[in-house]
Point group: C2
Chain length 558, copies 2
Amino acid sequence: MAIKGNAAKRRTAPARRPTRLRDTELARTPANYAPLTPLGFIARAASVAPRHVAVVHGPIRRTWAETYRRCRQLASALRRGGVRRGDTVALMAPNIPAAYECAFGVPMAGAVLNAMNIRLDAATIAFMIDHADAKVLLTDTEFAPVIEEALKRARRKPLVIDIADPLGPTDGQRLGGVEYEDFLAGGDADEEWVQPRDEWDAIALNYTSGTTGNPKGVVYHHRGAYLNAIGNVMVWNLPARPVYLWTLPMFHCNGWCFPWTIAAMIGTNVCLRRVETKAIFGAIADHRVTHFCAAPIILNMLVNAPETMRARAGGVVEVMTAASAPPATVIEKMERMGFHVTHVYGLTEVYGPAVVCDWDPAWNAASAEERSRLKARQGVRYPVLDGLKVGDPRTLAPVPWDGTTIGEVFMRGHIVMKGYLKNPKATRAAFKGGWFHTGDLAVMHPDGYLELKDRSKDIIISGGENISTIEVENALYRHPDILEAAVVARPDPAWGETPCAFVTLKDGASLSAEDVVAFCRTQMAHFKCPRSVVFGPLPKTSTGKIQKYVLRERARGL
Amino acid sequence: MAIKGNAAKRRTAPARRPTRLRDTELARTPANYAPLTPLGFIARAASVAPRHVAVVHGPIRRTWAETYRRCRQLASALRRGGVRRGDTVALMAPNIPAAYECAFGVPMAGAVLNAMNIRLDAATIAFMIDHADAKVLLTDTEFAPVIEEALKRARRKPLVIDIADPLGPTDGQRLGGVEYEDFLAGGDADEEWVQPRDEWDAIALNYTSGTTGNPKGVVYHHRGAYLNAIGNVMVWNLPARPVYLWTLPMFHCNGWCFPWTIAAMIGTNVCLRRVETKAIFGAIADHRVTHFCAAPIILNMLVNAPETMRARAGGVVEVMTAASAPPATVIEKMERMGFHVTHVYGLTEVYGPAVVCDWDPAWNAASAEERSRLKARQGVRYPVLDGLKVGDPRTLAPVPWDGTTIGEVFMRGHIVMKGYLKNPKATRAAFKGGWFHTGDLAVMHPDGYLELKDRSKDIIISGGENISTIEVENALYRHPDILEAAVVARPDPAWGETPCAFVTLKDGASLSAEDVVAFCRTQMAHFKCPRSVVFGPLPKTSTGKIQKYVLRERARGL
C-alpha cells in the first residue's frame, strides 16, 4: 500500500482570503504545459495497446511495443553516432518499416527527418545533402546506384546506413559501414529520448519538387505536425485502430503526417514497397485494410484494373485522395467499386492536406454524377487550419463567391510551414501580407467551397481568356476510351497560347485527334477545347503527379 | 477575372545560393502562427454548413449561420456594455441556447465565462461574483430568487441580464434592466470579434464544488480548451455532424468542452432544460440523437425507467459517462438497452475528461459481465494529455502495475488547468513536483489501465486496511433490489472507521440491513462489508454526484 493512515486524507487548506494575484500570473509549469509533439502518440500507443500489430510488411508483424522499442533504439543509436539536436538525418526509402520508424526515431534523437523522394536524380540528392547539411543518410539498397553517385557529388559526407529490407533486392550494394538492423542493435531502447525544447522546433524537412532552380526545403515543426496529424482524424472520421495501407509515399510531405496520425489512433500500418494495382488489391484483401491515401492517378489505375483483380476488394474501404484534382468520373467509378472517397487538397508547405471537401449529407440525394462533381471540388479548410481564402494575388482581397472569378488560394495558421530552410527571400515572398501564397488558382463557389482551376504556372491564357487545364482534363476523362489525360499551354502566335492535350488511350482503344476535339466540343465552350492532341504515355513523378513541365516542353516543340 | 496576363505566371525567383540563415531564425508570422482557440470552430461551422441545424430547443431550430450571428451579437453587445479583455462574465442557466451561445459569445468579447452551477446557494454565488469580479451576470429567470439574494450579499454589482427562456417559467421575476434577446439586439454581428492575444489567455473559469471552505476557481485557457475539444473527438470516434443531446450540464467543466467539440464537428445541439428520464428518451426518439454525455447516476435512472418509456429509444446511441465510477452492472444494462458506453474520467482541473477506457477489440470475446468490468475501469490518458500515472502521494514514484497497490492519480500536460484564480498557495500545492495532484486514489492494472478506488477523502481505513468505497458500492449495485447505493466511513472506536452503506431500494422492493450485509459477504472479503446500512433517498448535486459529505455527517450521527 502506498497510502498509509492520514496521508490519504490530507486536504489542501482552503484559501482564506483572495490575494491580488491576477490570473495572468498563472504561469506555465511542467504540470500544465508541454510542447505539442506527435512523438507522444507512439509512447501512448505502446502503453495502451502493446500487443496490437503496428506494422505489417510481407511476413513481418511488429507490435506497438516492438515498434516503439525500435524507434527508441534508433534514437539512441543516432545520438551515439554523433547526431545532435537540430541535425538533419536524410532517408531514401520506399514505404518500409524502417521509413516508418524514422518518422519517430529521428525526431526522438532531437534531429530533423529529411525523407527524400526515391525517384530523384543524383544531382538533386547531392544538393539536398549539402543544403540540409545531412549528418546521417539512411538508404535502402535498391537506391545504392543513385545514392553512390550523389555522395560523390556532395561536399558533405554523412554517415551512411544501408537498409537491407528483407523484401528489397537480395544483392543490393552496400555503401556505408553498417546495416540498419545492426545500427539499431547498437542503440539502447531504455535511454531517455529527446523531447523538443520548444514546439516550434523543426521535426522534418521536405524539399519541394521545384521544376526550375533548386528545390526549396520546407521546414515542419512539432506543433504543426501534431495538429495536422489530428486534423486528419477529424476530417476523415478516422476511428480507433484503423488498418492503414501505405500507398501514399512516406517521403511525400512526411506521408501527410499519417505516420503520426496512425500512432495517435493506434492503427496498423501495412507497408508496401511498390505501389502496384495487384499489390494494393492484395493487401486490402489480406489485411482487411480500412483506409488508404492515394493520388488520383493511383485511383485511376485501380478503376481501370482487370475485373479479376478487382474481385479481391472486400467491404467499403475509405480512400483519401489529393495531389491533383481528381476527375469526377474517377471518383464516381471508385465509389461504384465499393470505395468511399474523401477529397482533400494541400501542398508540401502545409504539411500535406489542409483543405477537405467536407461532405454535406444533403448531397446524398443528388445523382451519382452530381455527387462526384460536388466531391471533385477541393472544399473548405481543415478544422486545424486557421484561415483559407481565394483572393487577388496582389491585393489578397477575396474574390466574389460566384464560382467563376479566379483568384489565388491563400492559407494561414497552425499548419503552415515554419518556412524555407536558408531561403529568407522565398520565405518572405511566400508569407507576404500575412498569408501563405499557394500559387494555386481557384474559384470560390457560392457555398464557400473552393475549386482549383490550376497552378498559376499551368493556367492557359488564350486570346485574353483564362482556360483551366483541370476543366479540360475533366472533360477528356469523361471519354470512355481515354485512360489518362493532361493539358498544357502551347505557345501560339495568334492567341498567345492554346490548349494542347496529351492523351493515353485504354488498351485496344483507338481515337483520332479529331475525335478527341469533337468530343470536347460536346462538353465545353469551343475556345477551351484542345487545338492539338498528342497520344502516348504520360511522364509522372514518384507521387503519381503528371510532369506538366515535361509536357510543356514537348508542346513548345510541336 | 482577378488574374490577368502575366501576373498569373509569376514565379518566385529561385534562391541562388543558400545563406547562413539557420532554421531557428524562421520566426512566427501571421501566415504560420495563430493562437490555438476553439472559437474558430464556430466560424468554420457557419461557413461550411450555414444551413445545418446547430441548436434545437423545444420548437426552436437555429442554423449554424444564425447561431454564429447570435454569438457575434452577444460579443458585440458585451463590449458595448463595457466588458473588456480578461473580464469575467457569469452565467446562471440550464442547458438552453443562451448557455451554448455564451460558450462562444463571451470569449469572443475577450471575456472569461464563469458558468455557475444552478443548484448553488446564494452565499456561494455571492462569493463567486466577488472572487471572480464578475462584470456581467446572465441569469435564467427560474433562478431569480437565489440570484436576487446573492446580489444582495455580493460586494460587486455586475450588470444583470435576465434570460426569459421560452421554455422557462412564464412569470419569472426580472432582476436586471434588460432581457437577453433585447441585449443581443443591441449588438452588431458584423463587428469584428476579439481574438485571444495569446493561447494562454483565459477562456473560462469554473469553480470546484469544494465541500469545505470556499470553492476554488479553476482557470481554463484557449489552448487547453481547443485541445480537449479535439481530444473528445479522438477518444469517442466522434463522426462529422453528430446529434448531441445536452444531458451533461454546460456549467460542469464547461460541458467537458463539448460546446466547442460539437462546433468542430458541425453537429446539432439538442438542448434540455431538465434532465429527466422521459425527456431524455423523448429527445433521443424525436431528434435521432446519436451522442450524449451523462453521469452514471443518470444512466442508472435510464436503466430503471419503466419499459413503456424505454420503448422510445431508437438505434445504438453513443454515451460518454464520467463524474464517478459507473457500476459495472449499470454499464451492462445500458448496453443491453442498445446504448454503447464509453467510460471517461476527469476533473474540473483538467477541462473535464482526460482519461478514457480505450476499448481493446480483443475484449469483444469476453462475457458481457467481464466486458462491463473491464469497461468500469477508468483507463488510459487522452491522446491530448501528456502524462498520467498512479504514484505515491509524497514521492510521486509510480506504484507497481499490480492492480492492488493504491496510489494517487497524477496528470500533466496540455489539458491541465492554468491554475486556481487568486490562490497561489492552492495552485502550488496542486502542481507540486511538476504533476497535477488529483486527490483521487487508484490502482494501476498490469495492462496499464488505471482503476479509481476512491477520492483520497473518501477511502475508508478500517483496522489499518484500506477499503475502497467504490468496490463496496459495486457489490451493492449487483443486488437486483437496490436502485442506488453509496458507502462512506463511519467513525468506530475499535476499528478507526467502518463502512456505512446508504441504500435506495427499487419501487416495491423490501430488504433488511442483515439481507444487505449477507449479500455483500457473498461478493467480497468480510472486512470490507458494510457494518451499518441506512435506507432512503440519497442527497445529490446538480451533476448527479451523490453528496458523500452529507452522508458522512449522517454516518457520524448514527
